[in-house]
Symmetry: C2
Subunit: 445 residues, 2 copies
């Protein structure tokens, strides 16, 4: 039986960085990635296959990164794990491991809606063949309905609209799209923007059933509205792939994910898990978190990979930092929204500032930028921020993430030394992070 020091199951946003981290931290150890897919898709790039990028083949993670770092690759389906014997059985061969890391990802949820199994109703599986099939169907569709107005839903809807489909409708059960990550004022702006780009949005609407003979013909909403369509995309979340772990006898979390501690260790001391398949807790209060993002997966992978032979790193919990972009409007969020923070019981001070992202405002690329910051009232500690504007907001949320992780308060942000440039950022007088913090300080007095 082949012996490998560290076997990683899964080769995407968690599997690759976990293998790289093991390589960096334990240079003498052998590392093998086992995955079932011939080719691995860049998960966050999937919506862009439909319009901007053009095909799944252009959205692949190259295997070169493994080879360059002397990480083995076995493309095969894993059948079972024997925790006692430390043996991983795959279709191709059995592997004797010292340490095992599960990075098996998640599967999109198929809700129990009548008609969900009709032909033409698609969940977004992360594999090339399934996506190619969806793309073929979308290309000839006159109408597409996207169920779910989270970031995956809106990105899919916009890209499909961009690809030329006449009618694209998002159906979202709560009052606004993106409301898990943004407060209402931000959600409304994105909805306006999507509508201006030709995407129809039906919020506060539940899908009653999907109708059709063998393939989908219409979506029926609870109010009775019927939307004729030949394609339905499900964008309502994902659940952890934990079948293998469960069968092996590893503990699962109440949400069905592989239970891990702050070191990303499972109930078996030789087995770690990270990414979508692993249980998560929030940075804020430590309660379970259901957020599944590639960036979180890589973070957890850097912890798991470092810990396999000696506990070196600890997960401080998921801050929740991510962004979305539709055309030239980008929106980003880090930490808690005001509505979530209040629901959790925080007493908060929220401030919103608007300023152009260039100075003077007639510089090319100038666009309004709106930032909302949220502070805990008594301590002044930053709890979260939401921002909309141009491409640079993708990095502004990372500044916010650093500030949140280091528990900076409003005074720290007001005293933040920023770099600014006419062609790249807001003016130093109008720099949004600093000004939103200054306004918060006034309100905290």
């Amino acid at each position: 039986m082949k012996k490998v020091d560290v076997v990683v199951v899964g080769g995407s946003a968690a599997g690759i960085p976990v293998a790289l981290t093991v390589r960096r931290q334990y240079s003498e150890k052998t590392v093998l990635v086992v995955r079932k897919e011939q080719q691995v898709l860049i998960p966050c790039g999937i919506p862009y296959i439909f319009g901007t990028v053009g095909s799944p083949d252009k959205n692949l993670i190259p295997d070169m990164i493994l080879k360059k770092n002397e990480i083995g690759l076995l493309v095969s389906e894993v059948q079972s794990i024997d925790l006692q014997a430390r043996v991983l059985k795959t279709e191709a061969e059995d592997l004797q491991y010292e340490r095992l890391v599960l990075a098996t990802g998640s599967t999109p949820v198929r809700p129990p809606i009548p008609g969900v199994d009709l032909d033409g109703v698609f969940a977004i599986e992360k594999n090339v063949s399934s996506l190619s099939r969806i793309q073929e169907k979308v290309m000839i569709a006159e109408s597409v309905v996207v169920i779910g107005g989270g970031f995956i839903g809106i990105e899919f809807a916009d890209e499909i609209k961009k690809s030329g489909v006449k009618s694209v409708t998002i159906v979202e059960c709560v009052a606004h799209c993106l409301s898990l990550a943004y407060d209402t004022a931000f959600c409304v702006e994105m909805e306006k923007h999507l509508k201006a780009r030709g995407v129809e949005i039906m919020t506060g609407s539940t899908v009653e059933r999907i109708d059709g003979e063998s393939s989908v013909e219409s979506v029926v909403l609870s109010g009775g509205t019927i939307i004729p369509t030949s394609v339905v995309i499900l964008g309502i979340g994902a659940s952890a792939n934990a079948t293998l772990a469960k069968a092996a006898g590893l503990e699962l979390a109440p949400d069905g994910s592989v239970a891990v501690d702050r070191n990303m260790k499972t109930s078996d001391p030789n087995v770690f898990a990270c990414g979508d398949c692993a249980s998560k807790v929030s940075f804020f209060g430590g309660k379970p978190s259901s957020l599944k993002l590639a960036s979180i997966a890589t973070y957890e992978a850097r912890i798991a990979g470092a810990n396999v032979f000696a506990l070196k790193r600890e997960n401080i919990g998921t801050v929740g930092v991510w962004s979305t972009a539709v055309g030239d409007l980008a929106m980003g969020t880090a930490g808690l929204t005001e509505s979530v923070a209040r629901r959790e019981g925080y007493e908060v001070v929220a401030t919103t500032v608007e300023s152009p992202n260039r100075h003077p405002g007639c510089m090319p690329g100038a666009q309004a930028c709106r930032l909302k910051l949220l502070f805990e009232r008594s301590s002044g500690v930053l709890l979260g921020g939401q921002i909309m504007g141009d491409v640079a907001i993708g990095e502004i949320i990372n500044t916010l993430s650093a500030c949140i992780q280091k528990k900076m308060n409003a005074e720290d942000l007001a005293m933040f030394q920023t770099g600014t440039h006419p062609a790249l950022t807001a003016s130093p007088i109008a720099y949004p992070l600093v000004n939103a913090a200054e306004l918060a300080i006034m309100q905290m007095k």
Copy 2:
């Protein structure tokens, strides 16, 4: 005599935020800005007047911000300060102040080169009429020489080239342009980029003299090279405007700036100073710093303004965070460069990573991004970072700034929870800050 609680002298990048901060912190106090200019230019926008923006009138700080915040404005030249009587004499009237804040800025250096006073040799004064005059001359010039290859020099050179001048030459005395803020590999990239855009660069070259009858006809370098030209722009730094402070008897720093402590207080407890006119120390070791930037001015202004009636804020010293942009190449820096750090005596670990700023790399706007991070070897503390890439690097250096100010180490950066998006940032697997930190950790073992 008119009584005002807080008088601010100067109405630019230091004066405006100091007035705003006083308003925010001490809402009951009267605040008056006294400035000599009818109109105030956005300082960092000045190079862009020549090409991108088109005229000085489009690069003004609006006075509305003062009015909106109930801050008075007096346009008049200050003649003297009586520290004992707390009276500021201006051409228009005398003012009785409780607290005075000097935000008088700086004046570009005119080096003692023979011929520097010829017609057509311009230092960049921050006023509309002087800049209009320069612009008129540049518009009809066949050749322009820019003395100094710092960020002001290169931005001027590129904008003047863009405006249609046939020959534009930067003369820089040291081996590379931008070498105060970047290590050589980065400087070389910007030089290549400038050359590709038609700007000529003569580094390691000193100007011997400027020749001409009454107006400039040529610039003669120490090696004997003669560059025929009708316009010379001086971009070699600025010195603090401290004449008023000196005449009043305030202490000056050895470099001639107004001496201030960490609270931005001058030698008179009722007088504060901030921005280009005030003395500065480095965040690294506390030695004097000569860096003069609008963003530093606003930072110091937020300290000075908060402290006028009660000491609330302290200057931790200048981190040095700034960026520049030429065409589609942006470069940013935060903290120390490797060469400066080594000269200062730090034992450092430096790592450089390259990755595209989008994922997959075929997303629109994809461009290579290069990041260099610098850590103190024994502690792992981040000392600095340099980055080149697209517009978003203007904000990535702000993330670095937060990390530097909070003395984060390589492990903190490796454990940084980033947000990423295909259309906005590098992939989470290739996120440069994290990967550069991981590489540094390997080297520190």
